[in-house]
Point group: C2
Chain length 570, copies 2
């Protein structure tokens, strides 16, 4: 664990405390934040800390275990945050034996810095020449200077400016800064520490060791094989493969969550995306991080075959697409590139623009005016600054009552009225409106007897219990560094116990892992309670309870009382 104080410029290596040992990723970011950060601190002030942690199994051959967790008190929600991303950083940090980078303090000077991480430790270097650059230019410069095999973590102008919706970009295996810890404004926290980028050089890293390498590899190989088969749809169509199903469920956010079916869904669906990519010679089945076997990422090219962006994802396509009345994948791809380069969350931006359309700042579906908004962001105008603060604040300024956001964070691309389990997750997660905290799509089951019962989990009580189970199992994914597409499922928990035991010779059990995950959630709840996001505010915006989602007439009818104590009762 390496601690970097940006006020004193001191770098200290610390042995990970024993009690942190089984915590990786989100487990570690959340525990560290609880132990070391005042929940009432200013998110962009000197007392917040930015914690970057690979998962517990990061760097190993366990499939899809190379995701990274970046945590801090969020400037967007005001609560604890873990934002999860792909790219090469996690694996490189893990290989260097680094369980966490803890960035604290704040420089007094206005200069920008970069951190150079290698087997020699961490150096703080000047980086003023990168000021104002987008992630693409930043990455290009740094890869040129530090070698194309480096992994880069960086922020764009949004992060430098402290926009609450700023992301942290991470380079993928091709050195493209297209993997983002997108949610909750982690980029603004990094910007507040005046760190433009982190360059990771894992040459001379020592080898990952295993107590029982053979077993570990066997389990991993078998699991990977299964994932390749069961996740073939994702490999072929990307996350957008989901779009038709969500549309069929009448739950596709359309024109600021005012309708559940998009009339032009076929123009932005996974099928369509695949067609375009195959025709133009982009890339499907693209891995977002080393060790990814699901490969749901893609590279999207324009008609001439030039790369526009990577990767075009379901959430982006819906929230900047149907949610804004847009049905043009080329246009959405352009926006996606802008967001990645500028370093702003595509999801929050989509929700924000939807809210602005609701307020008649521009009409739904108006591409020209949407590009105008992008200019406002680029130019840091007052409107740009407002948009940079996200949907909740924008809605407040514009006097919009229908703002699809929870705890300050815009919802993901599943209308909670139709997919109620995900609605419960939005309403109760420590992370604010966030599907990655526990997406409860049809077919999902929990780990307990009752939550494996397909009839029970369709009841109101069952929906709540399912969300709780899925949220718990997701924590385990985030803790291990798995992409959550391996599934927040009992199967994943079981395999994980075996993998951990094979790696360290421990005797960890299914129950123990569940317990560990629950503890992480309890830690986050405690942080949020002190920060002013108590469980008592769990719930969705009023319109989800009062306005039926046409055409399927869905309504969110999970009583508030069931949402307030989801994690307090057993």
């Amino acid at each position: 664990m390496i601690r970097i104080n940006m006020y004193t410029k001191e770098v200290t290596k610390e042995i990970l405390p024993d009690e942190y040992f089984f915590l990786g990723g989100r487990g570690l970011t959340s525990k560290l934040l609880m132990d070391e950060v005042d929940p009432n601190c200013e998110p962009l002030g000197p007392n917040n800390k930015l914690v970057i942690a690979p998962g517990l199994l990061g760097g190993t051959v366990a499939p899809c275990s190379g995701r990274i967790s970046i945590g801090a008190k969020s400037p967007l929600t005001g609560g604890i945050k873990e934002s999860n991303g792909g790219g090469t950083a996690a694996v490189k940090l893990a290989k260097l034996g680094i369980r966490a980078l803890v960035i604290e303090g704040q420089p007094q000077e206005e200069n920008l810095f970069l951190l150079k991480v290698s087997h020699n430790g961490v150096e703080i270097l000047p980086a003023d020449e990168l000021k104002g650059l987008g992630n693409y230019e930043t990455t290009k410069t740094l890869l040129g200077k530090y070698g194309s095999k480096s992994g880069i973590i960086s922020i764009g102008p949004a992060g430098e400016r402290g926009y609450s919706t700023a992301t942290i970009a991470i380079t993928d295996m091709e050195g493209t800064p297209c993997r983002h810890c997108g949610r909750g404004g982690m980029g603004a926290v990094m910007g507040s520490k005046k760190i433009k980028a982190i360059v990771i050089d894992d040459s001379n890293a020592s080898k990952i060791t295993y107590k029982d390498e053979k077993t570990f590899k066997e389990i991993s190989r078998e699991w990977a094989k299964e994932l390749v088969v069961t996740r073939k749809g994702m490999t072929d169509y990307g996350t957008a493969g989901n779009l038709d199903a969500i549309n069929a469920l009448g739950s596709l956010p359309t024109r600021n969550f005012s309708y559940g079916v998009f009339e032009d869904a076929d123009k932005i669906s996974g099928v369509r995306l695949r067609e375009i990519i195959l025709k133009r010679g982009g890339k499907l089945s693209h891995a977002c991080h080393p060790g990814c076997v699901i490969r749901c990422s893609n590279i999207f090219t324009d008609k001439k075959g030039d790369v526009v962006t990577s990767s075009l994802e379901f959430e982006t396509i819906v929230l900047l697409g149907s949610n804004c009345g847009i049905s043009d994948l080329d246009f959405i791809a352009k926006l996606d590139y802008f967001c990645d380069d500028f370093g702003i969350d595509t999801m929050e931006l989509g929700v924000t623009i939807g809210v602005m359309m609701e307020a008649s700042v521009l009409p739904f579906g108006d591409q020209t005016k949407m590009m105008g908004l992008i200019e406002e962001l680029k130019n840091d105008t007052l409107m740009g600054k407002m948009m940079g603060q996200g949907a909740t604040l924008t809605g407040k300024v514009l006097g919009v009552r229908r703002v699809p956001a929870v705890k300050g964070q815009g919802l993901a691309a599943y209308d909670p009225r139709g997919i109620k389990g995900t609605g419960v997750t939005y309403a109760t997660s420590t992370m604010g409106g966030d599907h990655t905290a526990g997406n409860c799509l049809p077919g999902r089951i929990g780990y307990r007897q009752e939550t494996k019962d397909l009839e029970f989990i369709k009841t109101t009580e069952g929906i709540v219990e399912l969300s709780k189970d899925v949220q718990t199992m997701i924590v385990l994914c985030d803790l291990c560094g798995y992409c959550f597409f391996v599934g927040p499922s009992p199967d994943t928990v079981e395999r994980t116990a075996k993998l951990i035991n094979a790696r360290w010779g421990t005797e960890i059990t299914f129950d123990k892992l569940i317990e560990l995950s629950k503890q992480v959630i309890q830690t986050e709840i405690k942080f949020n309670e002190k920060a002013g996001l108590p469980q008592s505010i769990n719930g969705l915006p009023e319109f989800f309870y009062t306005e039926r989602l046409e055409p399927q007439q869905h309504i969110f009818d999970i009583p508030k009382t069931a949402l307030e104590n989801i994690f307090t009762k057993n």
Copy 2:
């Protein structure tokens, strides 16, 4: 108690429940909100309620007892709110035997309404012709139509637009809409109910009765006599009489709370104000409500003797003055008139503009550019909308870290570093940064043995205890309908017990009244906890703890732990 449902347009008279009997003013607004409003409701949605209540002694001859309490969940703080004002409304309502108007629901139509309150009850009437009018024009129209003796409660454009800083105006004895329930955006809640104005006609009201009229009048007369003597400074100089003292304490908010002494204090002081008013023939010693014997209000005229505004108060003069680097009373008076007419809180606007100056949107002291900001408000531009949401949101958009606000509400005109008791009140009050919740100016003592000890209340523990005592006694003032200038003092509590007993033949005691006041605070705490403003967030912005206030080097050093549990330990 009259309930007005703006959705169904039903008006119902209800007998005040027994348990509410000794609750008036803030006691009643807070209890009703807790009992009837979901703390998580949207402040401007149909589930919030606006409660208007005269004090328990409103309409009687008790001195200074004609203040009104208006309560709702605040769109500014997100918590419970009571905003207190003068004018004639409270006395008229009390004379009509109305303990509270409870306005609930929300019309579906876009039309505006007015409420006509008389001895016949409440009528809901159309008021579209008043749309967009300022409070002055609104009042003039209504007094013309309903008789000059009517009392008018109204909102300006700010309230109609839902600005979180919108006030509710109340006419004074001359029919001028210059008394405002200014804090916490109560005007926006009234606007969300589509009520432009409330006309109160108290002709044919029945006489206030007393169990022991003689004693009641005797106590009142004696108290009034004393107040006339002890508050002479306020009568002569208005609230601005304070300014020199606060400046001498090095605690006068100057240029966005960056300095504690204003070099041009003499140009905006009470002495100067008196000089100008006497010279030009304005009015000093003006009463803000019937029964006021302190008469700290004034009428400010321009050089030609034409009325500019009433009343020019300390908070306005400082927050729109020294806090913005302005030292011109004529200019401040103009802004005050604008705020009263437009229906926006002078204090929140002053803090907001200070924050904008800190962000270099305009230079400190630039009158021309400040008038430009007023145009932005009038024209409802994006900048105007942002300003209308107050200092906290404005600071967020502009990326300002030094935002002097607590729980979303801008601080009053006492820098908490120099006047720490008031700082504790800002940090701990259920109302957000609000001096009226318990201003602890030097000389103030509590009601308990230890808090009467002048040495103890200078210690850290003593400061906290004093604030707690004063906050408790202020509740009693707000509950009775007193102007708090009678003093949140043991003496006031004693006299109040006697007055209540003389009025109703009860045997209420000092301790019982303190207990009652404490219960009100506990009710508010409970509401706020559920609304997401738990006691754990009590505190001041970080810069008050880290940045010394020059030139007297004050710092806020009351530990956060002492602020979190102020009302939970006994």
